[in-house]
């Protein structure tokens, strides 16, 4: 075993390399390992991370770098041109089809505006109104006056808000 004299204060003791702290001084080590474990309070990680700047993910940096390269080299104009040319074909096709079937398209739109949408709207609003009327009938059947109903409504809103706040605190604490 490699042993060597240490220090320059004239001590006779020798510290041998390769030994564990417990082997070097068993009695003292027994005392020192009895010191209790300590740790920061909860939420420490989040407090630290809120003060740490984190770089953007690699994919983000790659995309940004690629975009910058396109601009710096002028290649961006080539790709913009190619995109514009590529858009011409579907644009021309769309205009041609619209011109060819303009009569059919016009009558379809006219039907939708004059009959389709109004009939769907009427059916939906009639259904909603029916539901409201049914609810109003049930509420009036309870015999409560306006103030009592207002108080019940306020109570419901308060309970709902309390639940939302409690849920938010629970989620925050569990992080």
């Amino acid at each position: 075993m490699d042993t060597r004299s240490v220090g320059n204060d004239g001590m006779n003791d020798q510290i041998m390399d390769g030994r564990t702290p417990a082997e070097e001084d068993p009695a003292l080590h027994r005392y020192l390992v009895m010191l209790p474990a300590v740790q920061p309070t909860s939420g420490f990680e989040d407090r630290v991370l809120s003060r740490v700047w984190r770089p953007y993910p690699q994919w983000h940096r790659r995309v940004s770098a690629a975009g910058l390269t396109l601009v710096e080299t002028g290649e961006i104009w080539f790709w913009v041109g190619a995109l514009a040319l590529g858009s011409i074909l579907p644009l021309v096709a769309g205009v041609t089809l619209t011109a060819t079937f303009s009569a059919e398209i016009g009558s379809g739109i006219a039907w939708l505006v004059e009959e389709g949408i109004p009939s769907v709207w009427a059916a939906a609003s009639a259904d909603v109104m029916q539901q409201f009327e049914s609810l109003a009938t049930r509420v009036s059947a309870t015999g409560l006056d306006g103030r009592a109903l207002g108080a019940v409504g306020l109570g419901c809103v308060t309970v709902l808000a309390g639940c939302a706040v409690g849920l938010r605190r629970t989620i925050t604490r569990s992080r």
Partner: protein
């Protein structure tokens, strides 16, 4: 597209510190959390045993991590990450002790503890749980004696003995962390042990 060039990152919990740092440099929040998870306790423990004030220790630990995590780009993987972070933590603790003009510590609360709350926050927590009241009292007394003895050491001795016996660090790593020659570290540990043996001489084996 070929994916052969894209190496899968290693499982973070089993990755080496260097691998975790590499992932953190890539912006992975999980990697930052992993570094915190690995080192928050030992770093806090070292600082706490040096400055002996829970609130202050937490502040210094936080400063240490903020400094380290914001400077990951400057970390050189050929060195141990643990040495780097402990070096910064130790420097923070030593600076704090110098600012307060403290060489040694009292057990019953820090020097700035003027209220019962502060005394409680700065007094040392000793003794293990799960014992009978008598055993707990004895463990507490023993723990007090040990903490008192450590608190009376010079800060350099204290740092050395804590890193060696409480953190289980190797001599060369302690030397690296404290920026001291290996021989000096061994001398400090030798002297610290001698002082602790004297201070704890009244305790039964």
């Amino acid at each position: 597209m070929s994916l052969s060039g894209m190496a899968n990152p290693p499982e973070i919990s089993t990755a080496t510190d260097q691998q975790v740092v590499a992932q953190a440099r890539d912006g992975a929040e999980a990697a930052y959390r992993e570094l915190l998870r690995r080192y928050e306790r030992p770093v806090y423990s070292l600082i706490y045993r040096m400055v002996r004030d829970r609130e202050l220790s937490e502040d210094l630990t936080q400063e240490t991590f903020v400094k380290v995590l914001n400077a990951l780009d400057r970390y050189r993987p050929e060195f141990k990450f643990s040495s780097w972070i402990f070096k910064i933590a130790n420097n923070a603790a030593i600076d704090q002790l110098r600012r307060r003009g403290l060489d040694t510590l009292s057990l019953e609360g820090g020097p700035d503890a003027t209220t019962p709350d502060r005394v409680d926050a700065t007094s040392l927590q000793v003794g293990a749980g799960g014992e009978s009241p008598l055993e707990e009292l004895e463990a507490r007394e023993l723990g007090h004696s040990i903490e008192r003895a450590i608190g009376q050491l010079r800060p350099e001795y204290r740092a050395c003995i804590i890193m060696r016996h409480v953190e289980g660090r190797a001599y060369d790593e302690i030397s690296d962390i404290l920026g001291l020659p290996l021989g000096t570290v061994k001398t400090y540990i030798h002297r610290a042990r001698a002082e602790l043996r004297t201070a704890l001489g009244h305790l039964k084996e």
